[in-house]
Symmetry: C2
Subunit: 144 residues, 2 copies
DNA sequence: TATTGTTATACTCTATAACTATA
DNA sequence: TATAGTTATAGAGTATAACAATA
């Protein structure tokens, strides 16, 4: 194995472990909160996009449609999103964030990310800059 | 909210989404494979550390003892780790990787990380350097 | 009485397969 | 017949609470 391939294997291994561990910590923050991490993620996505069909939302979040069905149902039960009919295609639906959902996003994001926020404040400016760039790169990887 | 706090909130939000998405992709690679991502992670940890008690292993992986009990049981069933008695404390056990486990680590790591490896190869040298630094920072955050 | 580990139980997240309704 | 979405089912991953064995 060449040095470059070896370094990449090490990078893959390190990145995998780091991501698995941080994901675990982030999910653990959900205890006692109102909505789950997946629900918050989908809600944020809808908030940015405006309104999407369930299929579009599943594609953007990178999950299969049945997984998104459950997330949407939970958000709808909580009154945070609403469905309306698609104007031209009776099979599809349009999902959009309600006023209550918009209010909740701000509350939840700050509540759920309090732990992470605190960790980030403790870093140096340079370290935060690295994470900012890394987040963009990782997002690009995971979207492919 | 100050500009710095706002930027940190954005960073936390971006980092959270990136980590959730990459974690999902990494777990999805498990399909068709032999052991799960959690099992591989514990196995790699034991491989590096030599031999650990279940409690030590749980602490290093950042999970609760009952979660590690299940992971160890699966690895033991597969013959990849073995237990032996603790020399001085009858309550504890020593878990270590078997020869079969050592062989499997190399196979699995390369098989499981093939997807991630390919993504990393497609990046620039600078992007890989950012991820390398980010992995260290994230691991430090998640360990606290 | 304190510590280590396991068992019992439950919930989140996600997938695939099968089904329904509409195009 | 093809597409969008849901329902049914299953498995991974993890936690807390209760228990057993040993210190």
């Amino acid at each position: 194995m060449s040095d470059i391939a070896e370094r990449e294997r090490t990078l893959a291994s390190r990145l995998r472990l780091a991501v698995v561990r941080l994901n675990r910590r982030l999910r653990a923050q959900s205890s006692g909160s109102n909505i789950t991490l997946s629900q918050l993620s989908a809600l944020s996505c809808l908030h940015k996009a405006g309104a999407l069909t369930p299929g579009e939302l599943a594609a953007r979040e990178g999950v299969q449609p049945p997984s998104m069905t459950r997330v949407i149902a939970a958000l709808e039960d909580a009154g945070l999103v609403a469905r309306r009919a698609h104007p031209t295609d009776g099979r599809q639906a349009i999902v959009e964030v309600t006023d209550a959902g918009r209010t909740r996003i701000e509350e939840e994001v700050s509540a759920r990310e309090r732990w992470l926020d605190q960790q980030l404040v403790d870093l140096t400016e340079e370290e935060r800059a690295v994470l900012f760039q890394a987040a963009e790169i990782i997002d690009r990887l995971a979207s492919r």
